[in-house]
């Protein structure tokens, strides 16, 4: 087999993060200047460069780079860019690239400042075909829901300035992002549940991380149903969106610091 991917590690990240960042700047500026195709091409190139780094990491670690917080942040930066591009392509909403680009850059900077180097070993329970799709679904959902929150903030901030038709359109985008995020949360959860059954016997054990996953889902369900029933009260929906996002953060990494979850979670990221 021809090896297309080089063996990369964290020290190489800067050389990929910098071009990604520059491409994102080009993409954002082009979008704001209404040069649509250039914005899409630059954004897509940023995705390719980033994907190349992830692939190289995967190759040199001989396992998917999904085990440490730093490694999951990598995917987050990656999917946030994709989420932004999808919104941009589908709804022609030009501001989204600025937000998704910024969010992605913040996570890249964290990873440059605080890389989490980790050995190749992987505990036996993680050696499962469910591992990769499970974590990737979750991280993808996280980035979609981050994009939804950004949309929500933007809507609340610009409520007075814009016409109500435009606001309705933006709320519609936010809803779509939540639906997509929710759909991947559900898929990630189901994959995780089936995997847990195969790995240790119960699909659901109310471990702290699982409890917070349930809380997050229920909270986003509240948002969805509140939007269906009270479409005119977006301020309340927005509040639910913020709370849900906070729950999501607890679920993602907050449980690692929660006193109630100390020494009891089987889902701790290797530190």
């Amino acid at each position: 087999m021809i090896d297309l991917l080089p063996l990369l590690d964290w020290t190489d990240f800067v050389y990929f993060a910098t071009p990604t960042f520059l491409l994102l700047v080009v993409s954002v500026v082009s979008a704001l200047m209404s040069k649509r195709s250039l914005a899409i091409v630059a954004g897509a190139l940023a995705v390719v460069v980033f994907a190349f780094f992830i692939g190289g990491m995967w190759h040199s670690l001989q396992r998917p780079p999904l085990r440490t917080m730093g490694e999951t942040r990598l995917w987050y930066s990656f999917f946030v860019i994709i989420a932004g591009l999808i919104v941009f392509v589908r709804w022609r909403y030009k501001w989204i690239l600025s937000f998704s680009g910024l969010l992605s850059t913040v996570f890249m900077i964290i990873n440059i400042a605080k890389p989490e180097i980790h050995s190749k070993t992987m505990m036996p329970a993680l050696e499962s075909p469910f591992f990769v799709p499970h974590v990737i679904s979750y991280i993808f959902a996280y980035s979609m829901l981050a994009a939804a929150l950004i949309m929500g903030i933007y809507i609340i901030y610009n409520r007075r300035k814009n016409s109500s038709i435009e606001i309705d359109k933006m709320i519609h985008i936010a809803d779509n992002l939540v639906y997509t995020g929710m759909s991947f949360l559900m898929i990630g959860l189901l994959l995780g549940a089936v995997w847990a059954k195969i790995a240790w016997g119960t699909y659901w054990g109310w471990d702290p991380k699982e409890t917070w996953a349930a809380i997050t889902m229920l909270s986003y369900l509240l948002y969805i149903h509140h939007r269906v029933y009270c479409p005119k009260r977006f301020e309340v929906s927005f509040l639910l969106l913020i709370i849900s996002f906070l729950f999501l953060q607890i679920c993602w990494y907050g449980v690692n610091y929660l006193p109630s979850a100390q020494n009891s979670s089987i889902h701790m990221y290797g530190m």
Binding site: I117, S119, K120, T121, M122, M123, P124, A125, E127, S128, D168, K169, I171, H172, D175, N176, Y179, T180, M182, S183, F184, M186, I187, L190, A193, V194, K197, I198, A199, W200, G201, T202, Y203, W204, W206, P208, T211, W212, A214, I215, L218, S219, L221, L222, H225, H226, V228, Y229, C230, P231, F247, I250, L258, P259, S260, A261, Q262, S264
Partner: protein, 427 residues
């Protein structure tokens, strides 16, 4: 009151009332014991719930939405029932949870009110059932005028899928049986006794297991530099190590230049007149060892052996200075596997290799690799299994499958444009 439409006040009052009833029951009766709802109680209870939903709905249908029962298929009941359960779960998320059997005996108010074991409290059960009740209502209300469009199919998949999952999940949590079983390759006959995970009692199981062999597949070991006093690997912020994947090899650990000249995965220490060396040794208690050269300064090199320990031989480190030593860390396991033969009471037999992530299935039993004798490590003759029996797994999996399709449809099916969404609201 009858005939008048119920609103937000009533919806909050209902969940608050149900919650209060739960708290009062909790304080007076105490937590629900883990085996309170084993079958057939759970089956009867579940059927009663479904019957109540259908009965109530029939009444509603007959009176053509005039009764407040219509409320339970509406948004206010939906939102309030979800919010109430969410609140309880958030409480659970912020409080440390302990097993009920432990919580029941403690008298601090936190335990009395069940905060430390929320899953066994009355208010959790009642609010869970209420959510199921509302969900059931919502489903029937929509299904009776279902249309064959994407949106309605997505609705059915998500809502019926969730109902089925929550329903069978509830039945399963009462009936789930888990046992641990210790087997040993040295034993002459199969093991059929299991230890009940909850009660700790030893019981005779309908299946027996004969352990033929147990194996650990390990990652190559790593060399590390540790602080002699604390035993912590260095550098403290981010420990460095040198993997013995391919030998000979060399590398730097915490500023020390290390050359690995020889690596013996199965070895034992042999005393020579002037030192201790390691030689190939392929039986019980063999350790992993490596011969290394460490550069101490410009013109001196320290040569010696480092080795992992086993239950028979002590480990061996190489002292570099008074404060640091070179050690070989215990290799990390990659996979555990047990070759077994299974015998069932009815005469069935099966043989398989059970690994982590590869349980053996027999009817509604799953048998998992759980543990081994840690002290003996790769020489362990003991293998511990967990035997799990879940009679309702099929139900939960049907729910999962529907939810999976529902999730995919949620992603693919287009939402209505904001304009026609409005008319949807005005019924």
């Amino acid at each position: 009151m009858w005939g008048k439409k119920w609103g937000w006040f009533e919806s909050v009052a209902i969940v608050a009332g149900l919650g209060m009833v739960g708290v009062v029951l909790q304080l007076s009766v105490g937590a629900i014991p883990h085996n309170a709802f084993v079958s057939p109680v759970n089956i009867v209870g579940g059927s009663v719930l479904v019957a109540i939903i259908i009965l109530c709905f029939t009444i509603l249908y007959k009176y053509n939405k005039k009764t407040p029962l219509a409320f339970f298929a509406g948004g206010k009941a939906t939102l309030s029932s979800m919010a109430a359960l969410l609140l309880v779960l958030v409480l659970m998320g912020f409080t440390k949870q302990i097993p009920v059997s432990m919580g029941i005996e403690l008298t601090h108010p936190i335990h009395r009110i069940g905060l430390s074991h929320i899953l066994s409290t009355w208010y959790f059960l009642i609010l869970y059932l209420y959510l199921l009740f509302v969900l059931g209502f919502v489903i029937i209300n929509r299904v009776i005028r279902i249309k064959a469009n994407l949106r309605d199919i997505a609705f059915v998949m998500n809502h019926i899928g969730l109902f089925i999952t929550l329903f069978f999940g509830m039945l399963a949590s009462a009936d789930l049986q888990r046992y641990r079983m210790h087997t040993d390759t040295e034993s002459d006959y199969p093991e059929w006794r299991g230890i009940d995970n909850i009660t700790g009692q030893v019981v005779d199981l309908p299946i027996a297991i004969d352990l033929l062999s147990f194996d650990i597949d390990e990652y190559p070991p790593k060399l590390m530099i540790i602080d002699n006093n604390s035993g912590k690997p260095l550098p403290l912020q981010r420990a460095e190590s040198l993997s013995l994947e391919a030998v000979p090899t060399e590398g730097m650990i915490d500023g020390w230049q290390i050359k690995v000249k020889e690596y013996l995965p199965y070895s034992a220490a042999v005393a020579t007149p002037d030192s201790l060396v390691f030689r190939e040794f392929r039986s019980l208690g063999a350790v992993q060892s490596a011969k290394v050269d460490v550069r101490l300064n410009e013109d001196s090199v320290l040569s010696g052996w480092v080795a992992t320990g086993s239950h028979i031989f002590p480990y061996r480190s190489l002292k570099l200075t008074d404060s640091v030593s070179l050690v070989m860390a215990d290799p990390e396991p990659k996979q555990y596997s047990s070759r077994v033969v299974l015998y069932a009471q009815n005469g069935d037999t099966d043989s398989a290799t059970i690994k982590v992530n590869q349980p053996l299935r027999y009817k509604s039993w799953y048998i998992y690799q759980l543990n081994y004798n840690r002290e003996q490590g790769r020489w362990s003759t003991m293998s511990e299994f967990e035997l799990v029996k879940d009679n309702w797994l099929w139900g939960v999996y049907i729910g999962f499958a529907m939810l999976f399709v529902g999730a995919a449809m949620l992603f693919m099916s287009p939402l209505p444009k904001p304009d026609n969404e409005k008319e949807l609201k005005n019924e």
